[in-house]
Symmetry: C2
């Protein structure tokens, strides 16, 4: 259901980007992101244990995936999210019968509250990027990438908490070390990228980006340690490039994506010279978007003949 | 590359449709339709033979798939299409280095011209829906459907020449006869549906539909014979329902689809009562759309708050 996702070259994108582009598509599943690769492991282990309750903090996609994986196994799932989180993600979490608690702060406040619930109730906390299952889930994407031929030069990975980047990166660095692993984060949420460059945890006071899925402020030290081992570079991109990437994916690949999933394309748009003639894979990691916001973002494109 | 495509439930569509909806997604591949399932077979057989030239008539997707399959094997591919065909499809065929010949008529004129080229040049004609490879290609979708659990009640299949419907239908009727096979065609291109109901070939003088991929006028008798064996019903849908289906798939499933790929959703929209409480699978068979036309079709949706 969540494994063996499509990986395919998208030639229609290439004239605009100046390089060979393949897409690893993580949106064609019931939760519309890669996160269920990890939550399926978490939930199946919990279903076999005494404790059947679990809590996580989430910008939306992890919570949605955990709610889905938990529902099928009769688990008691609580998701803590910022009240500023993407409405569609919150609605879909509720629709899956999970308990949703909103905090009056950002994602870091949700993380603190989820940890408090776990301590108080004595239940399992799923901590994205830190818990091994969340990285192993992402690592299955890496396994599928290295299994393919022809090979590619570079993989572009959305960087938020770091689960996707460290999971995929570990597999690539052990099985295909010649492949360049480049993490991409919005300029408006640069904490992990700055941390990677400075080789120490750097936090920020706020975030300002439409890429809600990667908008953290407080990198986890152990995740940074992993990221330092597996990433070849970490780059920051502007909001306008993220929107341009979303629009390119819509118009030339027929893909609706959430902003985080356009980070890889945005990175190419901002530095075509770097990628010229190379074969890049970009992981389209999710497409849970608010319809109205999405239409505003991509709708500004000029429509010829109208 | 073209097999084992995603099949997943899309709960966000269900409130609008009143039934359980699963999607079989045939668009996440280099040619963005299911047609390469068949052309890969055709091209690999040709690559092993003396003759390395092949011609087909196409509304676009078959030609695109044959051009892709032929390019990788050094075949000499000619595609004949109507000069009124979807521009994006024609551009992508040209980009794959196939010879493209446009005729000053509709798809039936292209079929005649392709047959004449094959006779004159003594090369292989790939005739969609009649040639066994094109049906076997589609049949692999049926095999993937019957391999899945949980099972479903109904499969909704876009009906044009009939390759998809007969290919998928044959597998379902032999391996899962309890599954209802419903073909869906636009009211503006009803020849095969009328033929199915009257159990004899009925042609029409013209077509009038945005669903370019299924706009034939002259059903092939042998294909109708097959369709009579495997289809439980064939229904016609209005253009407005096709557009509404495209918009639902965009807004609630995050999928850009071409009009033919929205026929199944359109059929549910036109007869919710018939499908109430059932589990339907709809095959999203292609998404090669002209960007401007697509934006016109789906852009008319009211955007809340703007």
């Amino acid at each position: 259901m969540f494994l063996d996702t499509p990986l395919y070259r998208c030639e229609a994108l290439e004239p605009e980007l100046g390089c060979t582009v393949s897409i690893k598509l993580e949106t064609a599943n019931p939760v519309r992101s890669f996160k269920a690769r990890g939550t399926e492991v978490v939930a199946s282990l919990l279903a076999d244990s005494e404790s059947r309750a679990v809590v996580c903090a989430s910008a939306g996609n992890l919570g949605l995936a955990l709610a889905w994986s938990g529902r099928g196994r009769g688990l008691d799932v609580t998701v803590v999210a910022s009240r500023f989180a993407t409405v569609t993600k919150l609605d879909r979490i509720r629709a899956l019968d999970a308990r949703l608690e909103l905090v009056d702060g950002d994602h870091e406040a949700a993380r603190e509250r989820a940890a408090a619930i776990a301590r108080y109730d004595g239940i399992r906390l799923v901590e994205d990027s830190l818990d091994i299952e969340t990285c192993e889930g992402a690592a299955t994407i890496g396994l599928e990438l290295v299994d393919t031929a022809p090979s590619f030069d570079t993989v572009l990975i959305a960087l938020g908490g770091g689960a996707l980047a460290t999971g995929v990166g570990h597999v690539l660095k052990s099985s295909a070390p010649e492949v360049e692993v480049i993490c991409v984060q919005p300029l408006g949420a640069p904490a992990m990228t700055r941390s990677w460059h400075q080789r120490r945890v750097v936090t920020t006071d706020s975030t300002d980006t439409i890429a809600d899925g990667v908008a953290g402020r407080c990198p986890i030290p152990a995740v940074l340690d992993d990221l330092l081992l597996v990433a070849d570079d970490a780059v920051l991109v502007r909001e306008a490039s993220i929107v341009a990437g979303m629009r390119l994916l819509l118009d030339h690949a027929g893909l609706v994506v959430e902003p985080s999933a356009a980070l890889g394309i945005a990175a190419v748009l901002e530095d075509r010279e770097r990628f010229a003639g190379r074969h890049v894979v970009t992981i389209v990691c999710g497409n849970n978007v608010d319809v109205d916001a999405y239409r505003r973002w991509v709708g500004a494109a000029p429509v010829r003949g109208s």
